[in-house]
C-alpha cells in the first residue's frame, strides 16, 4: 500500500478506534527508510570499539537488546561529528583517551582488552567521578544561568548520549519500553497490574 493510501485510511474516522496491527506495521515500514546507518565520521575504529563497549556496559543486553544492538555508537558518532561544538567533541575524545590511559596504568592494557571485571572496576570509578562533576556543574550553572550544551565530565556525556541513543532507537522504544507511536489505549490513571 502506498504511503498516501495508508494516511488516507488513517484519516477516515472509521478506522481509527481499532487501528489494526497491520496498519501499524505499515507505518513502521514507511519510516524504516529514514534512519539509514551512517559511516562513522568522528570516531576511528579503536575509539568506536571503546565507545561501543562502554555503552553496552551502561545498558547491557538482558532479556532485551542492549546499547550495542541499538547502534548507540553510531548515534554518538553523529553527535560528535555534527552536533557538539569542536571543543566539546575534543573534550569527549580526550576523555575517551583518558580511559585507555587509566586502564594501562591499572591493568597494563587498553580498555577494550581488559576483562569484564577490570572494565567494570574502572567504570565504577568513572561513574563516581561523574556524579561529583554533575553536582558541581549544576551548582555552577544555577549561578551563571548558562547551561552548557553537554555535561563537562566525559562519563557524564557518555551516559547521557547512551541513554538518549538507546531509548530513542526503535529497539529501545518498542522492545525495551513497549511504547508505540499510536497508543493502543488511553486513560488518565490506571493501576499497573491492569496494564501488562
Amino acid at each position: 500500500m502506498e504511503r498516501r493510501e495508508v494516511l488516507k485510511l488513517l484519516a477516515s474516522a472509521a478506522v481509527l478506534p481499532a487501528l489494526t496491527p497491520d496498519a501499524f506495521s505499515m507505518f513502521r515500514s514507511i519510516h524504516a527508510g529514514l534512519a539509514e546507518a551512517p559511516g562513522l565520521k568522528a570516531l576511528n575504529s579503536h575509539q568506536d570499539a571503546t565507545v561501543t563497549i562502554i555503552a553496552e556496559l551502561i545498558l547491557p543486553q538482558t532479556d532485551t537488546p542492549g546499547a550495542k544492538a541499538a547502534k548507540v555508537n553510531e548515534f554518538i558518532d553523529l553527535i560528535l561529528a555534527e552536533w557538539y561544538d569542536d571543543a566539546t567533541t575534543a573534550r569527549f575524545l580526550a576523555g575517551l583517551a583518558d580511559v585507555d590511559q587509566r586502564s594501562e596504568k591499572l591493568f597494563g592494557k587498553q580498555f577494550v582488552d581488559c576483562t569484564n571485571a577490570q572494565q567494570l572496576q574502572l567504570m565504577k570509578v568513572l561513574d563516581d567521578e561523574a556524579a561529583v562533576a554533575r553536582k558541581q556543574q549544576a551548582t555552577a550553572e544555577a549561578i551563571s544561568r548558562k547551561p552548557a550544551i553537554a555535561p563537562l565530565n566525559f562519563f557524564g556525556m557518555m551516559k547521557k548520549l547512551t541513554l538518549l541513543g538507546y531509548y530513542t532507537s526503535q529497539v529501545g522504544f518498542e522492545v525495551e519500553l513497549h511504547k508505540s507511536i499510536i497508543p493502543s489505549s488511553h486513560a488518565g490513571c490506571v493501576a499497573i497490574t491492569g496494564v501488562a
Binding site: A13, L16, I79, W83, Y167, P183, S185
Partner: protein, 569 residues
C-alpha cells in the same frame, strides 16, 4: 486540501469581493465566513502551502529524525537563532527562516518574535489551549483607568464564542466560574493520578478560591463535524492527519474551499494597502510574489487584515499616504502601540509522593488549568489583574537516568519502569497596555522581499514583574498543600514575545482619537478595512487569546457582509 489557488472565480482581472490577508488562525476564519456568506474571496498568504499527507510528521518516530529530537543545533544557530527557541526537531520547518524575516530591537530590550509563514500560520503549531474572556476582562481598563475601554462586553461576544466553539470543537469541563465562562464543551480529557491528587488537595484550601480543572483544548474527544476523535499520539504541534485538533488547514480553509468561492494564493507577500483619497477607502493590495519577486496588485471591496498582530501593524505602518504619513488608519497615533504579551514561566515543580502503582496511558496532548484567582475576591496589594496556571503531572522516564549514579543490568531494569510522579505549574500572566511598548518601521532593514522590517520596543513593566514574582509563591503553596517534595520555584522568566500571545498593536475603542478600530474591528479611518487578528485587543486578559481572535473575526465578517448587502459599504 488547499493545495492550489483557484476554484474561486475572479470578476475583473485580480478583482474580488473580499481580500483576506493571512491564512492563520484569524485569516482562516475570515475566509470561511466570507465565502459562506457568498463573497468571492481571495486569501493572500505569504508562505507556502501545507500538504498534510506530506508535511505532517506527528507519527514519525524519534529514530526517524536525524538528531533524535536534539534538533539540528548547528544549522539552526546560523539560519534560525530565534525560531530555534520554539518547536522541536520535527516541526522546526513550520517556523520561519530568521534571515529572510528580520526584525530589530534595542540590545537591552530583547523580544522573541516566534512565527511561521505558510498556509495555516501558527494554527498549525499552536498549543490549542482555548479559553473565553469574561466581563472581568472587558471591564478592567475602564474600572482602573488604564488604556482605553473595550468597546464591547461579554454579551456582545458570547454568541460568537458559541458559534466558533461549535465549529472547532473544544474539550473541557464545565465549572460555572463567572470569570472564566464555560465553553460549549466536548467531553473533558482525563486527569492523571498526580493531577487528581493535587486537584483534591487544592479544592477549598485557599480563601482566594484556587481550583484546578482539565485544560480546555481545541482537540476533539469525540468525532465532530466530519473530523475524527483524537487518538492520543501526543505531538499535535507536528500536524494531525486525522484532523483532530483545530487549525485552518484542518478545518476552516477546507470549509471555505467547499463553497467554491475561495481563491487561496500562497507565496503572496503583502507589501502594503492601496488607499484612494477620494473615497477614503482601500481599493487594493500590493503584493510581491514570494517566489518570482514580481510586484502585483489585487483589488476588492473589503479587506480583512489577518496577518498577525505584528505583521498586520507592519503592513499598515508601511502603507503611508499623504493623508496618513504615519501609517494607514493611524489618525489616532495609536497604530503599533500598546503591544502586549503574557509574561510566563513563573511557577514551581515538585515530586508527588505515592501513586507508584498507577500510570497514565497514551500521550494526552493537554494539561491542567488553574483559573485566575488573584484580584477576584480580594484586591492584591502588589499588582493589578492576575494569572492562570498551566501544567500537569507526569511520571519521570528514562531521562532521569542521566542524572543518577549507576550502570549495568540493575540500572537498565530500573529505567524500564517509570520514575516518581512529578508536577509542574507554569503561570501565564496578564500584561497591561502601555503606550511605550510599540512597533515602528526600521528604515535600515528590509526582509528578503525588500519590505521594510519592524523595530520592536517592548519591555516588562513593574505590574508584569510583580505578577511574575507571585506565580512562584502561589505555585509552591499549592504543591505544598498537595504534600509535594523537592519543591523548586522557577527561575526562568519569559522575554516579551516568548508567550507568543502578542496583541494590541491596533486596538479597538469607542473614540477614533485614541483607538484604531471600532467595536466591529473596522478601522475608524478606513471603512472597508477590518483588522481581526490579535492587534485589535484592548487588554490582554491572562488566558490564551486565539479563541477570542476567532470569535471577533466571525463577528466582524457578519457585520461587514451585512453592511455590504445593505449597500452601506
Amino acid at each position: 486540501m488547499c493545495r492550489h489557488y483557484g476554484g474561486g472565480v475572479a470578476m475583473a482581472a485580480n478583482t474580488y469581493d473580499a481580500i483576506v490577508i493571512g491564512s492563520g488562525m484569524s485569516g482562516g476564519w475570515a475566509a470561511k465566513e466570507l465565502t459562506e456568506k457568498g463573497m468571492q474571496t481571495l486569501v493572500l498568504e505569504a508562505g507556502r502551502s501545507i500538504v498534510p499527507e506530506v508535511d505532517y510528521v506527528e507519527h514519525v518516530p524519534p529514530w526517524g529524525v536525524k538528531f533524535r529530537g536534539l534538533r539540528d543545533r548547528k544549522a539552526e544557530s546560523i539560519n534560525r537563532p530565534i525560531q530555534s527557541q520554539i518547536g522541536d526537531e520535527w516541526n522546526a520547518k513550520f517556523f520561519v527562516d530568521d534571515k529572510e524575516n528580520p526584525y530589530t530591537t534595542d540590545s537591552d530590550k530583547p523580544y522573541l518574535f516566534l512565527r511561521g509563514r505558510h498556509v495555516g500560520g501558527r494554527s498549525v503549531m499552536w498549543g490549542r489551549q482555548t479559553y473565553r474572556l469574561s466581563d472581568l476582562d472587558f471591564e478592567a481598563n475602564l474600572k482602573e483607568g488604564l488604556g482605553v475601554d473595550w468597546p464591547i462586553r461579554y454579551k456582545d461576544i458570547e454568541p460568537w464564542y458559541n458559534y466558533v466553539e461549535d465549529f472547532i470543537g473544544v474539550s473541557g469541563q464545565a465549572e460555572g466560574l463567572p470569570h472564566l465562562p464555560d465553553s460549549k464543551f466536548l467531553p473533558p480529557m482525563e486527569m492523571n493520578c498526580a493531577e487528581l491528587a493535587v486537584k483534591e488537595a487544592i479544592a477549598g484550601k485557599f480563601p482566594d478560591g484556587r481550583m484546578m480543572t482539565i485544560g480546555r483544548v481545541a482537540i476533539l474527544t469525540e468525532s465532530h463535524r466530519g473530523r475524527a476523535a483524537c487518538h492520543y499520539c501526543g505531538p499535535c504541534q507536528r500536524g494531525c492527519i486525522t484532523r483532530s485538533y483545530f487549525s485552518s488547514v484542518n478545518s476552516t480553509l477546507p470549509a471555505a474551499q467547499e463553497t467554491g468561492k475561495l481563491t487561496l494564493r500562497p507565496f503572496s507577500v503583502v507589501h502594503s494597502l492601496i488607499f484612494d483619497s477620494k473615497t477614503r477607502k482601500i481599493t487594493g493590495v500590493r503584493v510581491i510574489d514570494g517566489q518570482t519577486r514580481e510586484a502585483m496588485e489585487f483589488h476588492a471591496r473589503i479587506v480583512f487584515l489577518c496577518a498577525s498582530t505584528l505583521e498586520s501593524a507592519r503592513i499598515l505602518l508601511n502603507s503611508t499616504t499623504p493623508e496618513f504619513p504615519n501609517g494607514l488608519a493611524n489618525s489616532s497615533g495609536e497604530l503599533g502601540h500598546n503591544l502586549m504579551d503574557h509574561i510566563f514561566k513563573g511557577g514551581a515543580t515538585g515530586t508527588i509522593p505515592g501513586h507508584e502503582d498507577h500510570i497514565q496511558m497514551g500521550n494526552r496532548p493537554n494539561g491542567i488549568y488553574v483559573p485566575r484567582f488573584r484580584n477576584i475576591k480580594q484586591k492584591h496589594p502588589a499588582f493589578l489583574r492576575g494569572y492562570g496556571f498551566q501544567g500537569g503531572g507526569h511520571r519521570e522516564g528514562w531521562e532521569r537516568g542521566s542524572d543518577m549514579p549507576g550502570f549495568g543490568v540493575d540500572f537498565k531494569n530500573m529505567l524500564k519502569n517509570p520514575g516518581p510522579w512529578r508536577f509542574n505549574f507554569t503561570g501565564f500572566g496578564e500584561c497591561l497596555p502601555n503606550h511605550d511598548n510599540h512597533l515602528e518601521i526600521d528604515k535600515n532593514k528590509v526582509d528578503a522581499w525588500g519590505i521594510p522590517a519592524l523595530k520592536i520596543n517592548c519591555q516588562w513593566r513593574p505590574n508584569e514583574l510583580a505578577i511574575y514574582k507571585d506565580m512562584s509563591v502561589t505555585a509552591a503553596e499549592m504543591l505544598e498543600a498537595a504534600g509535594a517534595k523537592d519543591i523548586v520555584a522557577s527561575t526562568a522568566q519569559s522575554l516579551p514575545g516568548e508567550g507568543i500571545h502578542e496583541m494590541g498593536s491596533a486596538r479597538m475603542g469607542r473614540d477614533p482619537k485614541t483607538s484604531v478600530l471600532n467595536e466591529h474591528n473596522q478601522a475608524h479611518d478606513v471603512k472597508n478595512l477590518f483588522v481581526t487578528d490579535g492587534s485589535c485587543m484592548v487588554s490582554s486578559a491572562c488566558v490564551n487569546p486565539s479563541l477570542t481572535y476567532m470569535a471577533l473575526t466571525a463577528r466582524a465578517c457578519d457585520y461587514a457582509v451585512g453592511k455590504m448587502k445593505r449597500g452601506e459599504l
